[in-house]
Amino acid sequence: MADSEFQPLDRLGIAARIARDIPEGWFVNLGIGIPTTVSDCVPHDREVIFHAENGVIGIGPAPAPDAVNPYLINAGVQHVTLRTGGAYVHHADSFAIARGGHLDLCVLGAFEVSETGDIANWARAPDEPVKQVGGAMDLAIGAKRLWVAMEHVTKEGASRIVRACSYPLTAKSVVQRVYTNLAVLDVAPCGFVVRDMIPGLTFEALQARSEAALHREAQQ
């Protein structure tokens, strides 16, 4: 593998790549991790409405340090601002948004995504002593589109693009697209289809880093 010939995206690079694909007017929830930074990559004059599970609609950028509103946080418990035109709802209505198909897009981080669109992003093992589920299962089943942002391989070199998830599932057959530091993959009926790769990366090199079989766009 000629790793020297290409430069994987950093985390902000993945976020910026995702931001390119979000059109004006979409209603979008961003999970914790790489996804959170996507909103910083959307130009302010492109009106995208960001939702947080704790009942905030229309999240804006982080506040200046001297202008923090202690009553206004996002689902990651970070201080945020509200765009003009935003609104507050309570938790049940906020999850009605998430579960009821009102989000045009949700972007989540993940440990693994399978070629059938399964996502595993909440537990490292079924027998983890303490479980932390949060709102990921609600978001994963409810959004019109679910995209995943993650590194293509683990630090140990194992692929996160898999035939079947080894970690406990968050939801089944829900992921439509995966943005990694190497490529953009669609989950199609035939499996993973490569939509985009970083400059210098070959299909073969990407396949070598993917446990699941990859398909070229033309093959689909």
Partner: protein, 219 residues
């Protein structure tokens, strides 16, 4: 720039297909989308299922749609036997599903909230439960109910901004915010157009993402 205002009633009604399920807000005339119902009559979609609290009062816009032969089915809690709707039903020319009013509201909310079924004690011990699934839960006999999803919701609002944020006046709120959540396409007629930000974020009744088109219909 997001701008959900449409310039004409034809634009507001564009794409409503024959066979659609249409949620219609209001309670009596209060909060009822009168202009949109006129628009629907002019637009011409037929074979409609209308979901509404009370169906087809004499002189109502729904009666007019019935006269035009546009409605195949009504889901509601109340129909007067002597009304046109009542007569059409008795002639076999209209399908009718009578639903307790709270169950009607809850089924629309369920559609908006991604709930695929729920159990309620309402109507469980009545003839409305005949032939349907019931279950005793927590010592109460309960009836299963399924979501009522709209292809379209027609609602009335007091104020609207270009993102589609809405407020309602007094008891004109009624089913309007619930139906706004329960349909794939929500079309609002608003009495007043306000600038983005004029509705304080704590006072928004229906957030913009639930609303797809707004037409300004002054008082």
């Amino acid at each position: 720039m997001i701008d959900k205002f449409v310039a004409s009633m034809a634009d507001a009604m564009a794409g409503i297909e024959d066979g659609s399920t249409v949620l219609v807000g209001g309670f009596g005339d209060v909060g009822a989308p009168a202009a949109l119902l006129d628009g629907l009559a002019a637009q011409g979609a037929r074979d409609l299922t209308i979901v509404i609290v009370a169906g087809g009062r004499d002189g109502s816009k729904i009666e007019h749609l019935l006269e035009l032969g546009r409605i195949r089915r009504m889901v509601c809690s109340f129909v007067r036997p002597a009304s046109l709707a009542g007569r059409l039903y008795q002639q076999g020319a209209l399908e009718l599903e009578i639903v307790p009013q709270g169950t009607l509201a809850e089924r629309i909310r369920a559609a908006g909230a991604g709930i695929e079924a729920f159990f309620t004690p309402t109507a469980a011990d009545t003839i409305l439960a005949e032939g349907r699934e019931t279950r005793v839960i927590n010592g109460k006999n309960c009836l299963i109910e399924f979501p009522l999803r709209g292809d379209v919701a027609l609602i009335e609002a007091w104020q609207a901004d270009r993102w589609g944020n809405l407020t309602y006046r007094e008891s004109a709120r009624n089913l309007n915010p619930v139906m706004a959540m329960g349909a794939a396409m929500t079309i609002a007629e608003a009495r007043h157009v306000v600038a983005l930000g004029d509705i304080p974020p704590e006072h928004v009744h229906t957030p913009g993402p639930f609303v797809h088109r707004v037409i300004h219909v002054p008082e």
